[in-house]
Amino acid sequence: MNRKYFKIAITFIFAMASVTVFAQDTPEKEEAKQGHTNTNKFRQLYQEFATPNQYRTASGAPGPAYYQNTADYDMEVVLDDKNQKLYGEETITYTNNSPDKLEYLWVQLDQNIRAKDSKSELQNGNGISEVNQTGRFVSQFIEEPFDGGFNIEKVTQNGSPLNYSINQTMMRVDLPKVLEPGDDIEFSIKWWYNINDHVKNRGRSGYEFFEKDGNYAYVIAQFFPRMAVYNDVEGWQNYQFWGDGEFALPFGDYKVKITVPADHILDATGKLQNRKNVFSKTMMNRYEQAKKSFDKPVVIVNQKEAEKAEKGFSNRTKTWEFEANMVRDFAFTSSRKYIWDMQNVKIGNREVMAVSLYPKEGNPLWEEYSTKAVAHTLTSYSDMTFDYPYHKAISVHAKNQGMEYPMICWNYGRPNEDGTYSERTKFGMVSVIIHEIGHNFFPMIVNSDERQWGWMDEGLNTFLQFVSEQKFGKRFPEAIAPLENYPSRRGEPSKITNYMKGNQDFISPIMSNPEQVHQLGNNAYGKPATALNILRETVMGKEMFDHAFKIYSKRWMFKHPTPEDFFRTMEDASGMDLDWYWRGWFYTTDFVDIGVEDVKSYYVTDAPTKAGKEMLERYGVEDPSQVDALYVVEEDSDEFTSAMKSKSTEENAPKLKSFMMDNFTEQERQNMTIPKHFYQIKFNKPGGLVMPLIVEYKYKDGTSEKMTYPAQIWRKNDKEVTRVLATNKELESVIVDPDMETADVDTANNSWPQKKESNEFEKFKKEKKND
């Protein structure tokens, strides 16, 4: 045998060493395994993703044939404050930019979810209780249901009636003539409906009745028949509105006139066109001041004026006129109880009004925090995406709901009757304002399909809400004192572990329709927000993530993205393959659990060991002295002597010393250190998710170092992997995910030597005793 052959053999043997560790674990006599398809967790998402095409490219950007249809509205609306009814007549101009001929149009009738014959309630199972609250019993089994839903009076084109057919919350309008690509059609709908009480029945839209003064505050949305989206992905998105899956809406320009009692204060989506007609002189002056105020809100209608107004009831009316361009929806609020404040905010080179409307019941909390939170949200979200493109953003106080529309949203957070409020009410209110104002970016501008993908706006928005809340805490430390960080409810990895380790029967993948999941809050908000937070802070790094996220926001601003457009853009703009991350976090219900199983300590020798000789024999080497090789002795093995521990590696292996002398100059040798300790650490992964392996090595001299092995370390073995740590220091402990940044659901296996941690319960009990 010539020497060259030896060298190749030895190289081969060493290269195989790490593989043999696993091979030895396999029982010898096992039935031959059957074949399988590619189940590697790093395989690309070709099966899951739609094929890229001319509409949507493989890079995640809109393609050359990308199109979207538009719906422009011209509406007149009348609010009957005596009978809580809303009347309207609208003319819709629908433009078909698709390459397809449309034979009919689909219009959404969201109010029909409250119709007497609505099927929404029927789709849920229910049961009878052993004990029933009498009132509840009566309403469940005896009383007539609320008479909600649209009353469609007529649908016409140029005065002639159009045929239409209503299927629950969707209305098909038949066209006398096919709508050709590039053409538009103008048609009108006249409607009215009974407004519901949103406080008692938890609506997104409706009124709140104030018993003490007999007044109503209206937050009105989904109030007019709205065009459905037609696109390259769904055709017509006419999936029924059942209640959880929110909205899919095309962009358009709106002209809306709203007639309300003359003593009402009103604000809405869009630019107010007749301010001089509806504002008093005092209000006009204050408004001019507000435009110049960049540091604090200016009150347009103060509490005293609002309290005076709520004592009256005007029989005269006023009409407020608005125009909004490139919005996907329209909403408004109206009441004689409203206090109104606003301030100007500089966003890039634009000026945006941050606005709040609230009854006196919201004070003193609302005057202090609402507009401040609006202004903060506009700047912090713009930093992460694009400059907020509209001219204003309004936060309206609604007793117990949070809901978003273009430029306007409803938010909860009501102090006690004596004006006191808890920390929780305060933080709950600031958080919901950040969240709902934040929705202007997703989905009002980056206009995803909420009906199908709740997480695309809720998840992205809850993630940005977390970022914005943390910035709020840094920017206004006095507002969160004595806390150091803003108490965000979602976003931190440790906050999602309880959900992810739960019973798999009640967990759905993020990529599920909102109507079909068990825990919408975790499914569409908490988990995707945490997944993005971990992706940003641990997997991609802030710089790379933020760049890619901004590209996504800008690419799909005023357009309709799909999940693939988001996934693809994040990879396209960062140069990182993230298919494994999307697959695990978004397409499965797997969880993270990574641990350290054991650590073996080795010393180097040049005397052939028993195991070394056996290995050489297997490769046909009878005489080890012919091979230039080093061997290792495990500390627990028979061949180990305590003398080895006190000697240096060179002393244990003189051959290594000669090799160093022969191959390096003295100067080169001075810059090299020969490690004394060789530790082989075995990590395991009981959890299904692949994640970077983050490890802290602590040494006996008190020092430590943190290593991050990329997630790809699991690509060839999803269950376990070993790493060798060569060091001059003696290892004391190994900790996996020391900063709890991966959402590891079980940390009992995260350290070596395994610590018998006193559990959360015992820790608390002990503290309690020491108090």
Binding site: G127, E143, P145, N201, R204, G402, T425, N498, E760
Partner: protein, 168 residues
């Protein structure tokens, strides 16, 4: 009167819908563990504090406030009383007695600690969890029960408040 009637029935129609951008969901999570060395069951329950405060106010005293920096004996008594009524752990056909150890707050959650002492070894445990279902129709209560390193999870709702876990 007419109005009151309207309010009452409206209250009901939609108790099963949820119409929100920021979703208000009703959930509690209880982690229970049987600890062999001390023959005890340790329970940690996480509930949204605003929901729980509302419950205590509605059920016991409208002036109850759960505040981060307070530890009032009267509140603790309400909490213990309520849990003993609504969270039943039953082994060997006997309801076990929950002892309230204490509570703490984390963001918008209240975390309550209970201990059951002198628990004989068991292979099956019957759990009834009706926490907050007397106020919130769509309240969901999750229980993770750990015994000898094995964890089993159950989901309870008002219509299905009782279930049995069998350990091997």
């Amino acid at each position: 009167m007419k109005h009151l009637k309207k309010l009452i029935f409206l209250l009901l129609i939609c108790s099963c819908f949820s119409f929100r951008g920021t979703h208000k969901f009703y959930l509690s999570v209880t982690n229970a563990e049987y600890v062999e060395e001390s023959s005890s069951v340790q329970l940690i329950t996480r509930i949204f504090v605003d929901d729980f405060q509302k419950l205590l106010q509605t059920r016991y005293d409208s002036k109850v406030e759960l505040l981060r920096d307070q530890d009032l004996a009267v509140n603790n008594a309400y909490i213990e009383k309520y849990f003993r009524k609504k969270l039943k752990i039953n082994t060997h056909n006997q309801d076990l007695k929950l002892n309230f150890i204490g509570k703490r707050y984390e963001d918008d959650l209240i975390i309550c600690y209970f201990e059951i002492e002198k628990v004989r070894e068991f292979s099956s445990v019957k759990i009834t969890n009706l926490l907050l279902t007397d106020l919130f129709e769509d309240q969901k209560n999750l229980v993770h029960f750990e015994k000898h390193g094995e964890t089993k999870s159950l989901l309870f709702v008002k219509d299905k408040p009782t279930d049995v876990i069998k350990f091997d």
